[in-house]
């Protein structure tokens, strides 16, 4: 395996002097300050390391490129005249996958954080003492260990899924983890293990592991073509690697573009080109929302969350206002609003781990208000971006969820939303499936959608777990505080419909079991899609967050939500009840769904494809037709409830603590949202929570425990179930 090769190469130095290790460690030190450089060199020599020094970043890169396996670790200064230290860090991570230690006289927290985000394995404050240098070998060992673990995992996985996941991670990790491919892969693997791949089995593609060599070939091809003209097909031809498909190249290109974008100063606008596998541009996806989501997705982990948040925000907005052009903005609200902790690093981390689902949820709740939505979206994006950057935390789950949400959202919100909605009620316990919940509900045709979602989820997960987590945390918070923020999370002011956060326990379980593998989040995707017609890209797996944004600020949200809502929620809610806000909720739920799916290994490629096909989800829509038409607004509300449910479900699935049975329904009071906002709520939960919040208004009907409602509704009407989610106001 390529990775194996690089790992073995990495071990070369050690192997040659096994007993003397860490003596002989080959260090490259880069600093434009000659005084520091000479001191460092002497210190490292005194540690018995083999030192090469250079005072320019470009020189360092060329040395590294020429000597691919000639170094074990790199130490670089942050402020350099020819190239920013973080850029160098990313380059090295991407191309050589070596551990990089950053140094600076600057000990400000934000700079250190930047280092972490960009993938530095350590950060030293100048003046550097020799004691600090004595232990740098640990980073080399750690990286190798992680790398071989990844390899092991990929090798041992019998299922194609696992492999896929790994490749996915490899694909996504490049953007998500600056240079930390293996780690992300590893994380992804861990998370994917529990996912069912049923849905994506048909879409699976052979995994590609982007080894250093392969990546370098890729970069060479891209440079040859020119970054603007580099299309996967041509790159593939230039690379001439047998077994490599255009899709592999496409997804890798997306990550690479994201990475470049980050280097040039995170561009807030991820293209909205939502995951079109054909487009292969994650970059474009980065519309404000997309970017964040993508980044998150790539990085891992937040995507779902961000998306969810964004979505939620979007949803909220859409209902409230037609203009939701600032998805990011909303995000901001969402994030900041809900849970400061959710801010990127933290939220993501947690969310990611927790659940993809939850992340989604998180994102959503924050956007209760239309205004909030905008801000929240932005924040969501921001978060997402951040997430992508460095969220390395293995939030795979959240990622997936987010991704899914996003992807689905873009495509066709309808089906997704339906799913999401369904899931919501359960999110309380849903081990992870908010999506799954949706599925059964959607029964009609959701299954198909679901699969997509799943697929999407899987994809999303890999890269952006982090983002997801963030979202979820964010969402979760709103949820928890459902009572507190009746109106805050979701602008939905008067969401009559959404049933409160259905007691998650029961529902979720039911749903979860059903949807385990299902992508459940499909609806979310749909929602997003609808919401953000203009941002299809955002929906890329990674852009789950984006999805949110889009949904949020687009009036279309309503439309999207309608779809989903109709499926899920509508049933129960009267048209009149749902207000726009519900929509956001729906979006949220969508996100949630996706979050839930994050656990699924999914085939990123599949997802993409799914996404593209999402817009077709009609099954879900079908069901809700009647409902949806009734009141877009209501729909939203319902969605929220569902989202909440979903999130709760997701949360449960994910095992997020707070999520469990937190949602009690008291009718639609959002306040009752059992989903506690916890930083590690699954995105779904977050969404659910968000929905709840949003649906304060909506939920007036006390449907009783969400789960029961859910089920009940299910029986009664496919859509009604959704409504069960109570959105406590």
């Amino acid at each position: 395996m390529a990775t194996a090769t690089s790992s073995s190469a990495a071990w070369k130095a050690v192997d040659s002097v096994p007993d003397q290790f860490p003596a002989g460690l080959r260090v490259l030190v880069v600093d434009d300050d000659p005084t520091c450089l000479i001191i460092l060199e002497k210190m490292l020599r005194n540690c018995s390391y083999e030192v090469t020094k250079c005072n320019r970043a470009e020189t360092a890169l060329s040395i590294l490129r020429e000597n691919k396996n000639g170094f074990d670790i790199v130490i670089s200064d942050v402020h350099m005249p020819d190239m920013d230290g973080f850029k160098l860090l990313e380059h090295i991570g991407l191309e050589m996958d070596l551990p990089v230690i950053m140094m600076s006289a600057d000990d400000g927290k934000h700079v250190v954080m930047k280092g972490v985000i960009h993938g530095a394995c350590d950060y030293l404050i100048k003046p550097v003492r020799i004691e600090a240098l004595k232990n740098i070998w640990q980073h080399v060992i750690r990286k190798r260990k992680n790398g071989s673990k990844d390899l092991e995992q990929s090798g041992s996985v019998e299922e194609g899924d696992q492999q896929q996941k790994q490749s996915e991670e490899a694909d996504y990790s490049s953007s998500a983890n600056e240079g930390n491919w293996k780690s992300s892969k590893r994380r992804k693997d861990d998370e994917d293990e529990t996912e069912d791949r049923d849905d994506t089995s048909t879409l699976k593609k052979p995994r590609v592991v982007w080894s250093i060599e392969l990546h370098q070939q890729f970069v060479a091809a891209v440079n040859q073509l020119g970054i603007d003209k580099a299309v996967p097909k041509k790159i593939l031809e230039l690379m001439n690697v047998p077994g490599l498909t255009r899709e592999n190249v496409a997804s890798h290109l997306q990550k690479y573009r994201l990475y470049l974008r980050r280097l040039s100063g995170v561009s807030p606008h991820l293209n909205n080109s939502f995951m079109n596998p054909q487009e292969e541009t994650f970059g474009p996806l980065s519309s404000v929302n997309g970017l964040g989501l993508q980044a998150l997705a790539a990085g891992g982990q937040l995507p779902a969350q961000c998306l969810a948040t964004l979505q939620a925000a979007a949803l909220g907005h859409s209902t409230a206002k037609s203009s939701i052009p600032l998805p990011l903005v909303d995000q901001r609200n969402i994030f900041s609003f809900e849970n400061p902790k959710l801010r990127f690093g933290e939220g993501q981390q947690q969310l990611m781990n927790n659940n993809k689902h939850i992340n989604l949820l998180h994102a959503i709740p924050t956007t209760m208000e239309p205004k909030q939505l905008t801000t929240s979206t932005s924040i969501g994006n921001i978060n997402m971006q951040v997430a992508s950057h460095g969220v390395k935390s293995g939030q795979n789950n959240s990622e997936l969820i987010n991704m899914q949400v996003a992807s689905h959202g873009v495509q066709s919100s309808q089906s997704n939303s339906a799913l999401m909605q369904m899931g919501q009620p359960q999110f309380a316990h849903a081990p992870r499936l908010p999506l799954s919940v949706g599925q059964p509900i959607i029964s009609n045709g959701i299954a198909s959608n679901v699969s997509t979602q799943n697929g999407i989820r899987a994809n999303i997960r890999a890269p952006g777990n982090n983002p997801v987590s963030q979202t979820s945390s964010m969402l979760n918070y709103p949820m928890n505080h459902a009572s507190e923020l009746p109106g805050n999370c979701f602008p939905l002011g008067s969401t009559p419909g959404m049933s409160g956060r259905t007691s998650k326990g029961t529902f979720q379980e039911d749903f979860n079991s059903e949807y385990r593998g299902s992508v459940g989040f499909m609806p979310s995707y749909d929602i997003f899609d609808d919401l953000n017609q203009h941002k299809p890209q955002n929906w890329e797996l990674q852009n789950v967050g984006v999805a949110f944004d889009d949904t949020r600020h687009s009036n279309s949200l309503q439309g999207n939500l309608d779809l989903s809502q109709s499926v899920l929620v509508q049933q129960g809610f009267t048209s009149g009840q749902m207000n726009r806000q519900n929509r956001s909720g729906i979006v949220v739920s969508k996100a949630m769904f996706s979050a839930g799916d994050s656990t699924e290994p999914g085939n990123p490629l599949n997802v993409n494809q799914h996404l593209n096909s999402l817009p077709i989800d009609n099954t879900i829509r079908v069901k809700t037709e009647s409902v949806a038409d009734v009141n877009p607004d209501n729909l939203f509300i319902d969605h929220f409830g569902q989202a909440d449910l979903m999130s709760a479900l997701l949360k449960q699935q994910q095992g997020i603590a707070p999520a469990e049975n937190e949602f009690d329904y008291d009718g639609y009071s959002l306040d009752d949202i059992p989903v506690k906002t916890t930083t590690h709520h699954s995105p779904v939960l977050v969404m659910i929570i968000a929905f709840y919040n949003v649906h304060n208004l909506l939920c007036n009907q006390s449907l009783g425990p969400l789960s029961s409602c859910f089920f009940k509704k299910l029986d009664m009407t496919s859509f009604k179930i959704i409504i069960c989610c109570r959105f406590s106001t």
Binding site: D32, P34, T35, K42, D77, H79, A105, K126
Partner: protein, 150 residues
């Protein structure tokens, strides 16, 4: 204490640097790097520092003469200067650098100018002291392991 009077004098001088706050622990780190293979390591580094930082000082001076002040540039230069100074353990110089950066952040022209003058003084003072120190060290012959400050 070394019986050699020159050495003793050297040691007293060295101790005063620490006592008076001209140098800090980082200087000791440099001293520890000095060994038989690099017997004049500390002197080499300090010489390099003064040579390299001279151009930074000049850049800052030129920037301070321009009106209006480009605080960001000034801050960037000073950040670099601070990094170098801290590497050799120049405590007072480092403190002045920090102060200068504060003034830059608060866009205080007067503060920057004043602070810079102070910084240059400390910078020059330290240089003289260290030059005398190294000269004495060469006269005293190969140094034994430096005793730890306090």
């Amino acid at each position: 204490m070394d019986r050699n009077p020159l050495r003793r004098q050297l040691q007293i001088m060295r101790k005063s640097f620490f006592d008076q706050g001209y140098l800090d622990e980082q200087f000791v780190q440099l001293e520890e790097l000095q060994d038989e293979a690099n017997p004049n390591f500390v002197e080499e580094v300090v010489t390099l520092y003064y040579r390299d930082s001279a151009r930074l000082i000049l850049s800052i001076e030129q920037a301070l003469e321009r009106k209006p002040f480009d605080f960001n540039k000034l801050d960037a230069h000073m950040h670099q200067f601070k990094g170098s100074s801290s590497s050799i353990g120049a405590k007072k110089v480092k403190a002045e650098s920090t102060q200068f950066r504060e003034y830059c952040k608060s866009r205080n022209r007067e503060g920057c100018t004043r602070c810079f003058q102070q910084l240059k003084k400390e910078y020059a003072t330290l240089r003289k002291k260290l030059e005398a120190y190294f000269q004495l060290a060469r006269q005293a012959g190969p140094m034994e392991t430096a005793c730890r400050p306090k």
